[in-house]
């Protein structure tokens, strides 16, 4: 019985020593939190070298701004400003009371898109909608297809149905303006209907260490062709600065297809994928941890330029047309 008591006491002691295995959450001071965020960016952010950002200098600039008495909202603002230096719309900082993100990728540029005007002037009451896709056939047998967000999921059956409705068109306009991205899986899912065979569309590398040049080896991104329907007639993809992230990557991938022409303004960029994590005080942040490039090595972070750069705005609308759509129609008619 004595041995039993000793044994069970030993087990009890081990169980009581759980803190040896799991320490409770540490309460970090404002300077520690700033350092934690700075180190996470150093270790995880994929574009420090590409954007030639001197992250050490940024630490020296922001560290003196924070001390143990820095109020919570001030700390949040300072940390948000530090992340702003990355010039990346995928980088965010969120707390229960505020969120910070860089919106420069489209705020400083002309919009080149008015959804209501396009709806009134081109789609009217006669358009169809299947899943997230709005589509119609414009004059001269030109198909028009709008996909508003890569966050909107769709089934292959839906896309097949749409393309069967547009099968007799002589060309197709895919309007991606204002599409700020979303689920990257939908890139390959959508593009599968515009390639005739499996093909390499790009390559991806992941940040793998604390040095700016630490990356995994490049992985090829392949797009498999749809087994049912494939649209192989001329295509014009409409883009603007609000075409970001997954939309930017889709545009970059599509630009390599021989039947595709990009019309509009340069896309907003966003050439990697963000991953979220947490700081010791529970604030969440997202950082771009990967870089996506075209097979040629061209980086997508800076945006995809159009083949035909053309702008549209209120003046054109007053005259009753969208200059970007009109250019697409002319391009496809020719």
């Amino acid at each position: 019985m004595k041995r039993m008591v000793v044994f069970i006491s030993l087990i009890g002691c081990l169980t009581a020593c759980e803190r040896v295995y799991i320490e409770p959450n540490q309460k970090a001071t404002p300077p520690e939190l700033l350092t934690e965020l700075w180190e996470n960016v150093r270790d995880q952010y994929a574009y420090l070298e590409y954007k030639r950002i001197d992250w050490l200098a940024i630490r020296d600039e922001y560290t003196p701004l924070v001390n143990n008495q820095t109020p919570t909202d001030s700390l949040f603002r300072i940390m948000g400003d530090m992340l702003y230096q990355l010039q990346d719309g995928h980088v965010t900082l969120r707390a229960g009371f505020n969120s910070a993100r860089n919106w420069d990728w489209y705020l400083n540029y002309p919009l080149n898109y008015n959804e209501l005007f396009v709806l009134q002037s081109y789609l009217g009451n006669g358009f169809s909608q299947t899943g997230p896709f709005r589509y119609t056939i414009l004059s001269d047998s030109i198909g028009y297809l709008r996909y508003p967000s890569f966050n909107s999921d769709f089934s292959s059956d839906q896309m097949e149905y749409v393309l069967k409705q547009l099968a007799n068109t002589r060309g197709l306009i895919i309007d991606m303006r204002g599409n700020t991205g979303g689920n990257a899986e939908n890139i390959a899912k959508l593009m599968a209907f515009f390639v005739d065979r499996s093909q390499a569309a790009g390559q991806i590398v992941y940040k793998s260490g604390s040095a700016p040049t630490d990356f995994t080896t490049s992985e090829e991104i392949r797009i498999a062709a749809s087994e049912s329907v494939s649209y192989q007639k001329p295509i014009v993809v409409l883009i603007n600065r609000q075409c970001y992230s997954a939309c930017n990557i889709f545009s970059g991938f599509m630009s390599q297809l021989s039947q595709v022409t990009l019309v509009g303004d340069t896309t907003g960029g966003g050439g990697g994928f963000p991953v979220a994590s947490e700081l010791s005080n529970g604030w969440q942040y997202t950082l771009t941890v990967s870089r996506i490039m075209l097979p040629s090595g061209h980086e997508l972070e800076g945006g995809v330029p159009p083949d035909i750069n053309i702008r549209t705005g209120p003046e054109e609308e007053q005259l009753g047309y969208d200059a970007i759509i009109e250019e697409a129609i002319v391009n496809l008619s020719n």
Partner: protein, 288 residues
Amino acid sequence: MSLKLDSCNSAKKNRNKCFTLSRLIAGILCLGSSMCLVSVTVAQSQHYVGIGIAPTRINVRDEGNSPLLYQGIGIRAFALYQIQAKNSLFAVELGGQLGGIQPRLEAGSILLPGSAQHYAAQSRLSYRRNIHTSRVWKLAAGGAWDTHTIVNYYELNSNNLVGYELNSSVAIQGHVEYTVNKYWSVQGLLQVPLVQYVSRPTSTGLVPFDDDLSVDYTQIVWGGEWGTWLRYRYVETHLSIGRKLKNYDQAEFFYRWRAANNRLNPALEYAYHSLGVSYHFNLNSPTP
């Protein structure tokens, strides 16, 4: 056979060959005898199939995804097969666990509600021999091959992250049983690893262009390293109160604790507290 051995002695150049042959024959005889003994032992043993279930308190800190300690409640279920001989026990156990966990901070913190799902699977082959027995208590020691896998799915800001760990270890076990009376007994088990293989692939979140979470099982299984006690440690304990039933089945009320501290990069720490019941069916019934 004797003729062959004699002929061996008469041919010097064949001695080595014959010696090898003799060893092979002796080995086969020994193996056959051992198998007979094992067969007899197994035949004379008690065979149990058990199932158990236990609500579990889960604590996880996966520094590949968050510096925060996640806590929550889950459920653990397991099945086991035991062969209890007079002086030894062989057991196979398979278990699974799932639960929802959330970060916990000190009161007053302003944080966002991150959440995660925690999954764990465990398999264990164990063998123990009695090293001391008396009328009321029994002390046994032995070893186990224990494999424990963890998968954590994190939902942060609409972004999914996945954290994995696979640990396979050869461990030592100590077991003590105190028999209160004909029906009741109290048991304790302690398991500590000796040699471990730990795999901890880097989490990169949802891999784009895949329909499903991209899980590279090859990397998980073969991308690990041998861990020492300094870099990785775990302890598992199992305390139970058993009640023998009339048909020689056995019911147990148990408390199981397992805690681990992985100092590989990125670090993973976890602790489980399970409080539950199990039922062991005696396959030899009605003869004990």
